[in-house]
């Protein structure tokens, strides 16, 4: 048997097991389903009124999509640390299975959870006036770009889960870093009004670029109330979004696998 198919097969077994776990404990899905609805409604109606009404809501939705899938990376952190703590990872590590399978299985099952979040958010967005105005190919591309980003963020979560010393540390670390990273971006407001250091960070932040790419592909407004941005990342949002996700994957897959080989059970 060749290496690639056996590692994919092992990963799919692990993903099957993870999804069974979620199916039997549907409350795990609470933050993956209720949180996006809450964010859509909160930001759309709390900020929406003073930031541009219907047009702002249409601008906002793609940003909320990106923010939500980024936050879903904390599921990867929690799922992995739980398995480490219960000794299940030890059982996996003593089996003649692929070294990447426990991680790839986890990031794959979390991708399925993100897909569910995205479907729920899309329906919720449609209810409050958001519309897909791009042509179907562009819309589909938009969703694929979003899922690629979700998968990339999940690998960051896998790495955080593997380097954390305790489950508690993993849980707070897995969420904490997401607040500055998602807020210093163009998810909620244009980055152009931020102080220079934040603006530079926000311009190059993959969160910003993914949100911009989605807006472009969905045919939603790129900016509300400010002139359109003119930075390089903003002008090449779609390719930069794809490249940044691929880069994150290229960095965090080997880091996580190397860490997994050495990780001790807790």
């Amino acid at each position: 048997m060749t290496v690639v198919p056996s590692s994919l097969r092992d990963s799919s077994v692990v993903a099957w097991r993870n999804l069974l776990n979620i199916k039997r404990n549907p409350d795990w899905l609470l933050s993956g389903t209720v949180q996006p609805i809450m964010f859509v409604l909160l930001f759309a109606f709390v900020f929406g009124g003073s930031l541009g009404g219907g047009r702002y809501r249409e601008f906002l939705i793609a940003g909320i999509f990106v923010q939500t899938v980024a936050f879903n990376s904390s599921f990867t952190v929690i799922g992995l640390t739980n398995d480490l703590q219960k000794g299940i990872v030890d059982r996996f590590r003593a089996l003649p299975m692929s070294r990447v399978a426990v991680l790839l299985g986890r990031t794959s099952s979390d991708l399925a959870v993100s897909l569910l979040s995205v479907v729920i958010m899309s329906l919720c967005g449609l209810l409050i006036g958001w519309r897909l105005r791009g042509d179907p190919t562009d819309v589909l591309t938009g969703y694929l770009v979003l899922l690629l980003f979700s998968f990339a963020m999940s690998w960051v979560g896998a790495f955080i889960g593997l380097i954390s010393r305790t489950v508690e540390v993993a849980q707070s670390a897995g969420l904490l870093w997401l607040f500055p990273v998602t807020f210093i971006s163009s998810v909620f407001v244009s980055a152009e009004s931020m102080p220079t250091p934040l603006r530079v960070f926000a311009r190059w932040n993959p969160i910003t670029v993914n949100a911009d790419a989605l807006r472009e592909l969905f045919g939603n407004p790129i900016r509300v109330g400010t002139p359109p941005p003119s930075s390089w990342p903003a002008e090449h949002a779609i390719p930069y979004a794809v490249v940044s996700s691929l880069l994150i994957i290229a960095v965090f897959v080997p880091l996580s696998v190397a860490r997994y080989r050495r990780v001790a059970s807790r």
Partner: protein
Amino acid sequence: MTSATAISAESLVKTFGANRALDGVELSARKGRVLGLLGPNGAGKTTAVRILTTLLRPDSGSASVAGHDVLTEPNAVRRSIGLSGQYAAVDENLTGRENLYMVGRLYGMNRPDARKRAGELLDGFQLGEAGDRIAKGYSGGMRRRLDLAGALVARPPVVMLDEPTTGLDPRGRMDTWRLIAELVDDGTTVLLTTQYLEEADALADTIAVIDHGRVIANGTSNELKALVGGERLELVVDEAAEMDTAAEVLAGIGTGTPRVDTQSRRLQVAVNDGSKSLVEAVRWLGESGIEVHDVGLHRPTLDDAFLSLTGKPTEVSGNGATAGAAGSEGLATAESGERGGRQ
């Protein structure tokens, strides 16, 4: 290492910070035999198992399992072993059947084979009826059986069991002992760690006593018992005046000089054939007209073994040592019961 050796470890050293968990451990198990790794909590048993199952790399030394080097051929080792851990690593949100099916698939079995093997093991481990229930609802003994079944999915030639009976009630222990005995009958090599001398005695062909990361004694259970002193006959007489006569009687029955504690009127002597000596002692004492307050056989506990081997009691916490000894005595009772049944 010869082809008849299934597990071997040479000069294994592993440190965690300032703690030398393993300090030059040597182990060897012949094919189809049971090697018992006996020691108190924190002696290094689990660390040794983790190295032999490729979960941990030693700082120095070498080890091989089923003819494969643990460091250079870890995947070949993993294909040849089954591991059942100290705490049962079953996925409690999966059914018993799903747990075993998953392990089978991860050993590389195809779907029908993995399904078939899961069914066989569930039946063999008396989990047939519970097989389609979620493992969260299993009792401790059922979880342990499921974990043990998980180690046997691929019919590995070598099975490592890390404290397979810790935390089980006497019945669960007996069930586990029976399963391990069956495993050995089928030709599997077993490495078993335990805190209980009786368990090592009942199951293991050779026993390595481990303390502070070192093997302090090595041999068959008979050799070890000889070292520890075997069974002792112990009695308490009613009248202090009768102690000398009682001591004479015991001297005639036992293999050494009786130990006499005048304060508690307790007498002890090492014996070879426990139950026969007990009957004999009661008869002789009765004929001598000595009233016996209490009489019984005392099997050597892990504490006794450590006392003999290191000259000091087990250095776990005071509580731990006591709990271990109490557990051992419980086992001794259960074991003599089983022996009686076999005769």
